[in-house]
C-alpha cells in the first residue's frame, strides 16, 4: 500500500521532473527566478526593517522631546504656583499644568495624558490624579511606572497597544516625573497613537512586496527570452546533428554574424563537411571493395569452371589411364574442389568485411537441420570411428534463421569435432528458452590450451598444423561461423581443456537481432548418454588389449 502510494507520488512528480531535466530553458528560468527571489526578499526585508526603525525613531524622538517640554512646563508651573508665603493651591496649579500639557502635546496621534500620584508617599497635601477623559489607563504598565519612580530624572517610554474606537493600534507611552511642592512626586504620562506611522510603514511594505514580485517576474520573463535567444541556435545545432546522424549528410547550420553562435555554426559546418567527405570516401572505398570482390569472384570462377569441367571430363575417362596418371588426376580433382571451397570462403569473408551481407531468413526447425547435418557428416564420422549422438532438450519449434548460414556453422562445429575428436563419440545438443536457441557440439578429443582457445576464431589459424585434415577446412571456418552468428545477433562460445575435449556453443535469438539474455545450454552441457558410450568404448579397448 505504502509502496503503491509512493510510486503514484513519484509518477505524479515524474512530469515536472522530466520537464526540469529535459528543458534547459525551464531549469535556467527556474534557477534565476528562485535566486533573484531570495535576493529581493533579503534586500526588501532589510529595507523594510530599516525604514520601520527610522520611522519609529523619528517619531519617538519627537514624542520624547514633546514629553520633556510638557514636563518642564508643568514643573515650572507647579514651582511658580508657590506663594511667597510658601503655600500652594495644588488644584489650581494642576488645572494650569493640565492646560499647558494639553497644548504641549501637539504632535499627531497624541491621544491623551495622565498625571498620576506616585504611590507610597506621605505629604502635606494631596493633589488629585487626573487623566484625559476616556483614556484607558491600563496602557500605563506597572513596569513603566516603576521605571519612572526608580529614575525620576529621565524621560521613559514604552511601546504599547492602544485601543482607539474599538480597534487596537500600536502606540507609545512616554513618561516623566513631576515634583509638586508640598504634594510630593507625581508621574506624567503622555499616550500617543502611532497608527499613522504604522499606516506609512504598511504602505511602504506593500509597495516593496509588489515591487519585488514585479521585479522577480520581470527577471523571469527576461531570462526566458534571453535563454531562448541563446539556446535557439544550440537547439538548431542539436537538431541538425540529429539529422546528420540519421544520414542526411547535406544538412548544415545557417551561419550569420560574428558572435560565438556564428563561430559555433561555422565550426559545426566545418565538422559536418569533413565528416561527410570522410563518410563518402569510406563509402566509396567500401563500394570499390565490393566491386573488387564481385570482379574477383567472376574472374576467378570462370577459369576455375573451365578447369573443373576439364578435370571432370578427364575423370570420366580415368579407366583408360595408367594408375599413376589416374592418381594424379584424382589429386588434381580433390585440389580443385579444395580451391573452390577456399574461394567460396574467402569471398564470404570479404563480403562480411565489406558489410555486404544480408540474411535470407526462413522458418527453420533446428532439430531437423541438426539431424540433416549429422546425416551429411556421418560417413566421415564413421571413417574416423566417431559416433554422432544428438541430445535434443528443446528447440522443436520453428526459429527464424538463415538456414544456409546456420547449416554452415553446424557443419563446421561437427566437422572440427570429428577432426579433433580422436574417434570418440561426439554429442550435439539442441535446446531453447523463450528468447534464444542454442546448439552445442561436444567432443572428448584432444582439446585445447587456453592460449589456443583464444586464437580459435583467428583467420587461417590452426591448432595443430601437422594434424591431418579430412574435412577440407580452409582455416576460415570458425571466423565465418562467428560472423554468421553475429549477423543473426547471436554468439559462439568455446569451452576447451587439453586432453578433456572441446565444446562449441552457438546461441542465437529466435528471430534475427532480437534481444536475448541467457543461452539455453550451459557450457559445456552435461551429457546424459555419453557415459554409456564412453564405457562401451573403454570396454572394447580393454577387450582388444
Amino acid at each position: 500500500m505504502m509502496q503503491a502510494a509512493w510510486r503514484a507520488f513519484l509518477r505524479g512528480l515524474g512530469a515536472p521532473l522530466r520537464l526540469w531535466r529535459g528543458s534547459l530553458l525551464t531549469r535556467t528560468v527556474g534557477i534565476t527566478v528562485t535566486l533573484s527571489g531570495i535576493a529581493v526578499t533579503v534586500i526588501g526585508g532589510y529595507m523594510s526593517l530599516t525604514i520601520a526603525d527610522s520611522l519609529f525613531t523619528g517619531r519617538s524622538d519627537q514624542i520624547l522631546s514633546e514629553t520633556a517640554r510638557a514636563a518642564t512646563t508643568a514643573q515650572s508651573l507647579f514651582d511658580n504656583s508657590v506663594t511667597p508665603a510658601g503655600t500652594i493651591d495644588v488644584e489650581t496649579a494642576n488645572t494650569a499644568a493640565q492646560t499647558a500639557i494639553r497644548s504641549a502635546q501637539s504632535s499627531p496621534g497624541g491621544s491623551g495624558f495622565a498625571i498620576l500620584r506616585t504611590p507610597g508617599q506621605i505629604t502635606a497635601q494631596t493633589m488629585t490624579s487626573t487623566s484625559t477623559a476616556g483614556l484607558d489607563l491600563s496602557v500605563v504598565t506597572t513596569e513603566l511606572r516603576s521605571r519612572v519612580v526608580a529614575d525620576p530624572d529621565q524621560i521613559h517610554y514604552q511601546s504599547v497597544l492602544v485601543t482607539v474606537q474599538g480597534e487596537q493600534r500600536p502606540g507609545l507611552v512616554s513618561a516623566a516625573s513631576l515634583q509638586v511642592p508640598s504634594a510630593g512626586q507625581y508621574e506624567l504620562y503622555l499616550i500617543y497613537d502611532l497608527v499613522d506611522v504604522q499606516n506609512t510603514l504598511t504602505l511602504i511594505q506593500q509597495t516593496l512586496i509588489a515591487g519585488s514580485l514585479a521585479l522577480v517576474l520581470t527577471i523571469g520573463v527576461v531570462t526566458f527570452f534571453v535563454v531562448r535567444l541563446a539556446i535557439g541556435p544550440v537547439r538548431r545545432a542539436a537538431q541538425t546533428a540529429e539529422r546528420l546522424a540519421q544520414g542526411f549528410l547535406e544538412e548544415r547550420l545557417f551561419e550569420k554574424g560574428e558572435d560565438v553562435i556564428a563561430v559555433l555554426a561555422r565550426s559545426f559546418n566545418k565538422m559536418a563537411d569533413s565528416m561527410q567527405s570522410q563518410i563518402v570516401k569510406l563509402a566509396t572505398l567500401s563500394q570499390v571493395q565490393q566491386r573488387f570482390v564481385s570482379d574477383v569472384s567472376h574472374e576467378l570462377r570462370t577459369p576455375l569452371t573451365t578447369i573443373r569441367l576439364a578435370g571432370d571430363v578427364l575423370y570420366e575417362q580415368r579407366e583408360s589411364f595408367s594408375s599413376e596418371n589416374s592418381r594424379t588426376l584424382e589429386l588434381l580433382i580433390t585440389q580443385i574442389e579444395r580451391f573452390e571451397i577456399m574461394l567460396t570462403d574467402l569471398l564470404e569473408m570479404s563480403r562480411y568485411d565489406a558489410g555486404a551481407v544480408a540474411l535470407e531468413v526462413d522458418e527453420v526447425n533446428l532439430v531437423a537441420l541438426v539431424e540433416d547435418c549429422l546425416d551429411q557428416l556421418s560417413p566421415l564420422a564413421t571413417q574416423k570411428g566417431s559416433n554422432l549422438v544428438v541430445e535434443v532438450r528443446g528447440g522443436y519449434g520453428e526459429s527464424e534463421v538463415d538456414q544456409r548460414r546456420i547449416r554452415r556453422i553446424i557443419l563446421n562445429f561437427v566437422g572440427n569435432a570429428i577432426d579433433h575428436g580422436e574417434g570418440r563419440p561426439i554429442v550435439t545438443f539442441v535446446d531453447s528458452n523463450e528468447d534464444a536457441v542454442a546448439i552445442a557440439v561436444r567432443d572428448w578429443g584432444v582439446g585445447m590450451t587456453p592460449d589456443q582457445v583464444e586464437r580459435v576464431f583467428d583467420r587461417f589459424w590452426r591448432a595443430d598444423p601437422s594434424r591431418q585434415r579430412t574435412t577440407g577446412g580452409t582455416g576460415l571456418g570458425l571466423a565465418i561461423a562467428s560472423e554468421d552468428a553475429l549477423a543473426h545477433g547471436g554468439r559462439i562460445d568455446v569451452w576447451s581443456e587439453k586432453g578433456e575435449g572441446s565444446c562449441f556453443r552457438l546461441t542465437i535469438p529466435r528471430a534475427p537481432l532480437a534481444e536475448w539474455r541467457d543461452s539455453p545450454l550451459p557450457l559445456p552441457p552435461e551429457s546424459d548418454t555419453i557415459d554409456s558410450y564412453l564405457a562401451e568404448e573403454d570396454s572394447t579397448k580393454g577387450a582388444l588389449a
Binding site: S294, S297, H298, R301, T302, P303, L304, T305, T306, I307, R308, L309, A310, D312, V313, E316, E340, E360
Partner: protein, 233 residues
Amino acid sequence: MTARILVVDDDVSLAEMISIVLRGEGYIPHQAFDGQDALAQIPEVKPDLVLLDVMLPGLDGIEVCTRIREFSGVPIIMLTAKGDTTDVVKGLESGADDYVVKPFNPKELVARIRTRLRPSSEGANSVISVGDITIDVPAHEVRRGEDRINLTPLEFDLLLALALKPQQVFTREMLLEQVWGYHYKADTRLVNVHVQRLRAKVEIDPDNPLIVQTVRGVGYRAGESVGQADSDS
C-alpha cells in the same frame, strides 16, 4: 533429333570446354563470344537452348536475355558467378528459365539442360481449360477465346503443371521438382519470378490473379475453369 545449343561466353576457353562437354553428351554446340554475336546467330542456328553468361562485354547477359525474349521463347539457362546477389533475380526477370552458378560440374550442367529440353506434358493429350483460357496440349497453344497467348516452353510447362491438377495446391518446392527438375532444395525465387512472368501474360489483371492463384503460406494453384462449355463445343 539432336539438340543445338548456343553457348554464349566471352571466355573462349570456357566456351570451348563447355562445347566439349556438350558434344560428349551428344548435343551440337555453337559458340558466340559476345551479346551482338549471340543475337545475330540465333536466327541462323535456331538453337534449342541458349547457355548465356551474365557478364558479357558490351551488351550484358541480362540485356541479351531481354532482347532474345522479344522474338523467341527458346529456353535460356544463365551462367552466373554470383549465386546470392540480385543478378540472379534480374536474370530471371529478364526471361531466363534457370541458372547455374559457376563453378559448376558437368553433371549439374547437363542435368539442367536435359530438363529444359525434355518434351513436356506427355501425359495429357487433350484440351484443358483454366479460368477463361484454354490449353491445347498437343498443339502447345494457349488461347483466351480466339486470341493466342505466346508462352515460352517453361511458362507453358508451369501453367500446365498447375492446370493438370486443378484441385491441388502446389508448393514452390513441388513446382521446382516438376517443372525445373530439381530433386533437392533449390532457389524458390525461380518459381516466384516465373509465376510473375506467367501472370503478366495470362492474367487480365496481374495484380488480381484468377488463373494462377496464390495460396498464402503454401504456394500456388490453378483457377477454376469458367469456359468448359465453350471448349467442348
